[in-house]
Symmetry: none
Subunit: 400 residues, 2 copies
């Protein structure tokens, strides 16, 4: 559903909706047992929810497409991830809780290695430690640019965040990562006439950085990509006419929720803390986005058993969630993260919706194979919000 | 399928297609039994049709969207209900069989109550009786507008139809229903410069009506919305190259069929009458739209058993329909109307297509759950016509 149509059809009532996102939820069978993480894990509460609700598999972005966290979450929030794009620099800023201002231009930086002729020999500078990255960022902060404030923040290993702050900056700039070895990083070019005044301080920064880093082999140069400004998206609360709260531990997910205009609640770091936060603010909001990170982290580590354990922990809070008697309770994932791939993947993601108004299907368990036979079928993740709104009776009739 | 593509691929032959629309077909389980209206009803002929044909569930407009009758039927006729919109005023005119002319601008009217300061206190005037509505419409017909003919027709309770007729009128006008209480109804504004000449007679009508209605508390004022002209849609018969007939009892559905250019056959009021009409005109047409209203009406009344009975009546005519040996026989609904909601709903709608050329699936019964497992899956209602045309061998190859 187009956001304009959602805005047109949305009505308010007393109902409450919970969207519980289990990051990296979907998986693949273990080669020895033929059972996926979800199939192998003991998840009785999710199974019961599946038996009582309606199931399906979400396609986060498109068939065959492996989503990053940004598109994966935006789709669940109802935002077409092709249309609502978040630049890599902005995502990096969200991921470290950097307070990005509307005028800022952010870029993702990589420390890299260059040879005597300035040609890139390692695009990641041998993956230097995060400590080294932090020291180098401190050095780069000394750079002064005329009329532009500069922020350089370490992220992890060879990755850092660069933010330029001044009125009138424009993010339409080419990247300096040549994406291959043996060539010199190109200068930043303006991709629109309005961005010329931003290309020049960016190149000035690179020039100064090159001089400062020269003696810091293997991190003797840097590459910049994903120049972008904080996008201005339609507000979730305006579109869906709900007061919306996000409960998430990691900055990236808090940032994505903030990007669409949700209120981000302060919370402790365990799933139990998150649940307590949700309970505490229950009366103040209509919609809750609850994020649980561990299954994705274990999947990324290729840790099948770790992911099983994380899924069992995700399951354990379902009774408490059900006791809150939301009108709609959904369990979803932003993408699959099969331990077998140790990475995000393109595989559709198990989904269940529970409400008094769902027309039951035959699904008895919550896993990849069982959800394939659910009545929702395999469907775009952007349909999750229309489904939630419909079952909460928050959408009026289309046409007379 | 886009209508332009349909027009390009459509070929003619001797085949006949019947689209039997059971209004409000889909339902929800009864809380006591867990069985839907269709599951509880005894529908042996529909079950046999499902066993011999192919099944699925149609999505009338979009996931989570509850369709009105207009979009629900247009989708079944192959017209994208986002693209082909019918104004509320025009639908109201269709619904009472008013003979709308191409130059007319129609609006839906509500009698309402205002206080001494002209502020709306009840947007429906306490739902006055249809008789009172008829008397008030008679009074409003006395209003004379310079150069514009005026029609005021009672619809039901507080609702009436206003039609302005004159050359050069334009329907792009704002509505006067403030959608909330305690404020004065605004004047009609032109939403396009071309509509200025229509706003002024509309406001003149309102001014006169206010004076006439002043002593008729609670119906002492009126609100107008959905100003619209008869839309000009591609002709069904041109697009699909079939002579098309509609057999429907209620004016709204006859009107929708007329809107796309079908020939509307005069018919009696029972389903048996409708069937007889269809049989009588069998040789004259290639495509038949047969509409049966009762299941929707019972669903809207929240009458589970009444809907069961209506579905059994719908089932009873299937043998007679099959005896006509159409090349394609389809049973569809324009939307679901679960008795549990006593309203139209967003739930997908059972569908079956029977023809010599369908590849059989495993469906053995005709109901919501069984159709979930049908080979057509859950699919857009706009695919119904392409499916019908294909199975009638009326679509030529795409590309060489």
């Amino acid at each position: 559903m187009d956001l304009d149509l959602a805005r047109e059809l949305a009505v308010t009532n007393e109902s409450k909706i919970v969207l519980y996102v289990i990051d990296g939820l979907g998986g693949l069978p273990h080669p020895d047992t033929g059972r996926s993480e979800l199939e192998a894990a003991d998840t009785p509460h999710l199974d019961r929810l599946a038996a009582e609700g309606i199931c399906g598999l979400t396609v986060p972005v498109g068939t065959g497409i492996t989503p990053g966290s940004g598109p994966g979450h935006l789709a669940l929030f109802g935002y077409d991830p092709y249309r609502y794009q978040v630049g890599r620099g902005v995502l990096e800023a969200l991921g470290i809780d950097f307070d990005l201002q509307p005028q800022d231009v952010a870029a993702r930086g990589n420390f890299c290695t260059v040879d005597g002729a300035g040609r890139v020999t390692d695009r990641r500078a041998g993956r230097i430690s995060t400590d080294t990255c932090t020291e180098l960022c401190d050095l780069l902060r000394e750079i002064k640019l005329p009329k532009v404030d500069l922020f350089v923040e370490p992220v992890r290993e060879h990755r850092f965040l660069l933010v330029l702050r001044a009125p009138g900056l424009d993010g339409r700039l080419s990247e300096t990562d040549p994406q291959r070895l043996g060539v010199e990083p190109p200068l930043v070019r303006a991709l629109a006439p309005e961005a010329k005044g931003t290309a020049s301080p960016a190149n000035k920064f690179i020039e100064e950085a090159k001089r400062i880093l020269a003696d810091h082999y293997p991190a003797n140069m840097l590459l910049l990509r994903g120049f972008s400004k904080h996008p201005s998206f339609p507000h979730f609360e305006d579109v869906f006419r709900m007061r919306a709260a996000a409960v998430a531990v990691y900055p990236m997910y808090r940032g994505l929720a903030k990007l669409v205009g949700m209120t981000v609640l302060p919370t402790g770091v365990t799933l139990e803390d998150e649940l307590e936060t949700l309970q505490k603010h229950w009366e103040e909001f209509d919609f809750f986005f609850l994020h649980y990170k561990r299954p994705d982290a274990a999947g990324e580590d290729g840790d099948f058993e770790g992911k099983m354990g994380a899924l069992e922990a995700a399951d354990a809070v379902i009774p408490a969630l059900r006791e809150m008697h939301s009108d709609v309770l959904m369990v979803a994932g932003d993408h699959s993260t099969p331990s077998a791939l140790a990475a995000h993947s393109w595989h559709p993601v198990p989904f269940v919706l529970h409400s008094a108004w769902c027309r039951p299907d035959r699904t008895e368990e919550f896993n990849e194979l069982a959800c394939t036979a659910g009545s929702l079928g395999t469907f775009p993740a952007t349909d999750v919000m229309p489904l939630a709104m419909a079952h909460a009776r928050r959408l009026t009739k289309y046409g007379a």
